[in-house]
């Protein structure tokens, strides 16, 4: 990574398309060194916000800055920010290498950087094939390679796991985690909460263009809780000594502060029979369910 880490700051940002307010008075901060999830149902204004961050869309009011500057005023934008908006943004007649060479020239990067990225993203074997025959995963990696040409300090990804198979999603998680660990700022939008669960550290949740919640995932999610059904409930309570346990009804307990595997492990160690283990929705999941289920509500 070149240079100091960069913070994203969105301040009182609004965007109207005619009578429709796509984004309303939105403010949040995205810190370097962590992966931040930008969450909200479809049509919440995530894409519009990210496009305003990168100068593709002009805000109606408010500001969006990266390291204190609006995108269009960054001296070498592709060195500061890499952004992926479409899973497939290349000319079908270009080869992967052609495509990267166009943007390498644009950013002023040597051809060696192209070869480096083709290797980093496991595209070396397909480098000289035309992109129209590429699989979804290959397209995804080529768009990522394009965004990474300038070794940027900020990475913005709009719904990157759309259409990826589980293995692709797992790979992406590892990859983004590594980038964040290097001190980069990573903002990744999604309308699917559970995809983000093992990936993001912080979250920004929006609905209908407005901020709903922002902060570390662990804080917003609250401590985990597990519902346990056991014929040996009394012995289980003893085994769980030191943890907060509620008896919901005879034979059914709610254990706070532990997740399902931890409870199952404890039960096994104490040879307690367990008939059912259900992880309860965290408060973030409850919040997200509320957001996605009230689409019919008046705007």
């Amino acid at each position: 990574m070149n240079g100091r880490p960069l913070t994203i700051e969105v301040s009182r940002l609004s965007k109207r398309y005619g009578p429709v307010a796509a984004v309303r008075d939105l403010s949040f901060t995205v810190e370097p060194g962590v992966v931040t999830g930008f969450l909200g149902p479809n049509g919440a204004g995530k894409t519009t916000t990210m496009r305003m961050l990168t100068g593709l869309v002009s805000p109606t009011s408010g500001t969006a800055t990266i390291g204190g500057r609006p995108y269009r005023r960054l001296r070498q934008p592709s060195r500061a920010v890499g952004a992926v908006f479409d899973a497939s943004a290349f000319h079908p007649g270009h080869t992967a290498r052609d495509h990267l060479r166009v943007y390498a020239a644009m950013g002023g990067y040597p051809d060696g950087r192209v070869t480096e990225l083709l290797e980093l993203l496991d595209l070396a074997g397909a480098a000289d094939r035309r992109t129209h025959g590429f699989s979804t995963g290959m397209r995804q990696r080529l768009t990522l390679a394009t965004a990474l040409l300038g070794d940027p300090r900020v990475l913005l990804l709009d719904e990157p796991s759309n259409g990826l198979d589980p293995e692709g999603v797992r790979w992406l998680r590892g990859f983004l985690r590594r980038l964040a660990d290097e001190g980069r700022t990573v903002l990744i939008s999604s309308h699917v909460l559970h995809e983000m669960q093992q990936l993001v550290d912080d979250v920004v949740v929006i609905r209908r263009g407005e901020l709903v919640a922002a902060g570390p995932w662990s804080q917003l999610a609250g401590p985990p809780a597990v519902l346990v059904r056991s014929p040996d409930a009394d012995r289980l309570i003893t085994a769980l000594h030191g943890h907060r346990v509620e008896t919901v009804e005879p034979g059914r307990l709610r254990v706070h502060g532990l997740d399902a595997p931890a409870v199952a492990g404890l039960a096994a160690r104490h040879q307690v029979r367990v008939h059912e283990l259900v992880a309860e929705n965290t408060s973030l999941e409850e919040l997200f369910l509320d957001l996605t289920s009230d689409k019919a509500a008046t705007p």
Binding site: T54, G55, P77, R101, Y103, G107
Partner: protein, 264 residues
């Protein structure tokens, strides 16, 4: 400078580029060769032969009529950036959109020049070749013919840029192609048939191109057909200036509109 290099790379990496040069050779050498071999006197209706000045000018004029090809290529190239969604990537790398468009215009100006040189060069080869084989002495001096061909070649640069401008303006590929091809290939000749409107012909792009080679055959044929008064073309220099003005206007409009427009 980086932007220009990028745009040339973008252009040269597609197969369209080779197609463009092939089209130039086919239209220049092929079309001109075929027309010269058949001989204008055998056209329907017959036209003055190659041994007359009017005959040679007419063949060169028909060559000018193929200007919709580079125009379509220009429109195609620019709109493909929107169609394949690379426009957003381009503006991420180069947020100063005016510079991007300037680089594009320069790169396509180069491409148009290559097209024009090949078109005029192969046409010259075909024309002089056929004349020599058939033992015809052309109705215009060699220098004049070469000069006229050079004008046709340069007109191709202008039309390619007009295509780029229309493409950047409309952004939708099908719409831009329909407008460019529909207007240049069909629309303008149709306009000429409407009494009154045909007086505008000399200042339309097609009329300005015809003025470059003093090619009045098409206009005359149509005005005879509909019984309107003959059309008087602009002098060649006026035609050249007008064409340049069209290209500049297209480029300017495209630049201004692209500067602030949201890329969604």
């Amino acid at each position: 400078m980086n932007l220009l290099r990028a745009e040339f790379r973008r252009l040269l990496a597609t197969r369209m580029w080779r197609g463009l040069l092939l089209a130039a050779a086919l239209l220049g050498g092929g079309l001109m060769g075929a027309m010269a071999l058949v001989g204008p006197q055998n056209f329907s209706p017959p036209m003055p032969g190659l041994d007359t000045g009017t005959g040679v000018r007419s063949l060169l004029g028909f060559l000018g009529y193929t200007a919709f090809v580079p125009a379509a290529v220009g429109a195609l190239a620019v709109t493909s950036e929107y169609r394949h969604r690379t426009a957003a990537v381009t503006f991420l790398f180069a947020p100063r959109r005016g510079q991007v468009l300037a680089a594009k215009l320069a790169a396509f100006g180069g491409a148009g020049l290559a097209y024009g040189v090949i078109l005029a060069g192969t046409a010259a080869g075909a024309l002089f070749g056929v004349a020599a084989i058939r033992g015809i002495s052309l109705g215009l001096p060699t220098g004049t013919v070469l000069g006229l061909l050079a004008r046709v070649g340069l007109a191709m640069v202008v039309f390619l840029l007009i295509g780029v401008g229309v493409g950047a303006l409309l952004r939708n590929q099908v719409a831009a192609l329909s407008v460019v091809i529909g207007y240049l290939y069909l629309g303008e000749p149709l306009l000429m048939m409407i009494p009154g409107v045909n007086r505008l012909y000399p200042v339309l792009p097609g009329g300005a191109t015809a003025a470059l080679t003093d090619f009045t055959y098409l206009a005359d044929a149509i005005s005879q057909e509909v019984g309107s008064t003959a059309v008087h073309l602009l002098p060649p220099a006026g035609g050249a200036l007008l064409l340049t003005a069209y290209a500049l206007t297209a480029a300017l409009l495209a630049t201004i509109l692209t500067l602030r427009r949201d890329i969604t």
